[in-house]
Chain length 337, copies 2
């Protein structure tokens, strides 16, 4: 017969709540008692199952991650960081891919609730009232990652998108570029889209460039390089004198470069392209991408730590946390010829 | 107060087991009763939670996916396919990333058991006796994906690695190449590694090339392009007359091309490179990769269907299923100059 928490408590000669504390926050139990409990656990091959655990401890030691698009390489680094923090903190990590589908996202919140995850990291999406209502009703702790909410009080962690875009465009201006285009997200719900456009425009103004005259060169693409490839076609058909393109994603930069290459235009000799994210592929593309690095590993790692803080203390020290971006200079942007 | 399955049965005027059947296999319940149950469910806002569901139905409507490396772009297509099938079949999909760490994999099997997933897709890894023992003890249905087991009776789905490698190398020989190197996996536990090496050697022999004389040109890399970049350096230092490289992963092909490009060697004009997998990046790399496509979407989709078949019927019609690979000709391989 399977050992229960009662059996463990009896064998160790301690109370059930002491066993529970050893399983949940071992540092709160004195060494001598802790050792007795762990020996009893070992001896009885005691393994709390999630039903019992959920009922007794109200903790499942599992965190959930909701991401909008598993095919987007941006999340690989995020997940790696989150996984690392989960290992350190003793959580399992369960990932669900919403495919930017609101019904699916809602259904995954239900699933996470049913599976009694201790908390959810909600990545890159806008927090709609509908999502918020459900999360609140379930009382599931949530941290927003690479996103934030102006309407709801939810802890978040991200980079400063406006400043990051500013730095990218300022770098291009420093290389002598004036006719600088932008390739942004066409997702109307994009959280990072508006601040990146703002950063682009502010850098142009600060650089003495008439931002209004360049607005036609602000193109949009959906999430993949194919879309960026098409948007690049449109851009260069309309504005062939464009000498540099600021892309809000490395995939967009790759799509743009691929288009230019297919047209016989060389990067960075004839046109400079700068990306955003610094995904793992950025360093191996040809040419290697100059880009704005997001600290994806740290973003993932900190989001799990922050969620743990929220779960265990009911609050987070910093409500809206920003991590630093960094300009990575490689090969895809150069001086105007 | 929350409605229970009893409340639903009472209101609908049916037995509890009928309610259970409507939730689990609606097609087994006559239309009139089904409608009554669904109306009662609606009226009471009845939502089975996983505790109750687990106890009453012994089904959680969740599938688990164990993948070795979330950063490997190969899994993006797999996950998309699996997700699609899960949507169709009414499952939630939970993904756990093992990082090729055996302790973590075992711990995720525990987690999946605790969360009462209905079944697990076990991707790309070797089925060790230890894993098998745990899965059997928990009686969790398992399908192996892009892997198989010779020791254990486990349904699996994958491509024919030997034939796929053969086709890649045969294509290079057809272009006139003789000094064909190979870049394989250095993972001793790799399931697909040995058959791909076999296919390479068989194609050489069939092409009238002395395979033994080329064995020194079989290099190995770990999982990422950085490793392939280094292995390419080693290869071309030792065998500068190599005119073509068969890579067992698109990332290896990209690492090889990146190395050659940094040495001023042009692909495919001076050296041809062929990849494997046809990940989403293959078509946008510069040059675009000629590669062996794995039907990743279908592999993922079929793995979920197969697992569903196993869960609902206790068996699968086909034990070892193989899907077809396909040679995709793009730009990275050409005739010998």
């Amino acid at each position: 017969m399977k050992a229960t928490i009662r059996d463990v408590a009896k064998l160790a000669g301690v109370s059930i709540s002491t066993v529970s504390r050893v399983m949940n926050s071992p540092q709160s139990v004195v060494e001598s008692k802790r050792r007795k409990v762990l020996e009893a656990v070992e001896q009885l091959s005691y393994q709390p199952n999630s039903f019992a655990r959920g009922l007794i401890y109200r903790k499942s030691f599992t965190l959930g991650l909701l991401i909008p698009d598993i095919e987007n390489m941006y999340y690989a680094g995020i997940i790696r960081g989150m996984q690392e923090a989960c290992n350190k903190l003793g959580y399992s990590l369960m990932i669900c891919n919403t495919d930017r589908d609101s019904a699916r996202l809602l259904s995954y919140i239900d699933t996470f609730h049913e599976k009694q995850v201790d908390g959810i990291v909600f990545a890159s999406d806008r927090m709609s009232p509908e999502y918020y209502e459900k999360l609140s009703a379930y009382r599931i702790p949530v941290v927003m990652l690479s996103s934030h909410s102006d309407e709801f009080e939810i802890p978040s962690i991200e980079v400063d998108d406006e400043a990051a875009a500013y730095d990218a465009v300022k770098y291009l201006i420093g290389l002598g570029h004036q006719k600088i285009a932008m390739m942004g997200f066409n997702d109307v719900n994009s959280v990072s889209g508006p601040p990146r456009l703002k950063g682009y425009l502010r850098a142009l103004s600060d650089g003495g460039i008439d931002a209004a005259s360049l607005l036609g060169r602000v193109k949009h693409a959906a999430h993949y390089f194919e879309h960026a490839y098409e948007a690049a076609h449109e851009l260069f058909m309309e504005y062939p004198d464009t000498t540099a393109v600021f892309c809000v994603a490395d995939e967009f930069a790759m799509g743009t470069i691929s288009y230019l290459k297919d047209q016989g235009v060389s990067v960075p000799e004839q046109v400079s392209v700068i990306g955003f994210d610094n995904i793992r592929m950025a360093g191996i593309y040809i040419p290697k991408l100059t880009t704005i690095a997001q600290p994806t590993f740290e973003l993932g790692y900190r989001s799990a730590e922050k969620l743990h803080e929220l779960i265990t203390t009911g609050q987070t020290e910093i409500m809206r946390e920003k991590l630093l971006h960094k300009l990575i200079i490689r090969e895809s942007a150069g001086t105007v010829s």
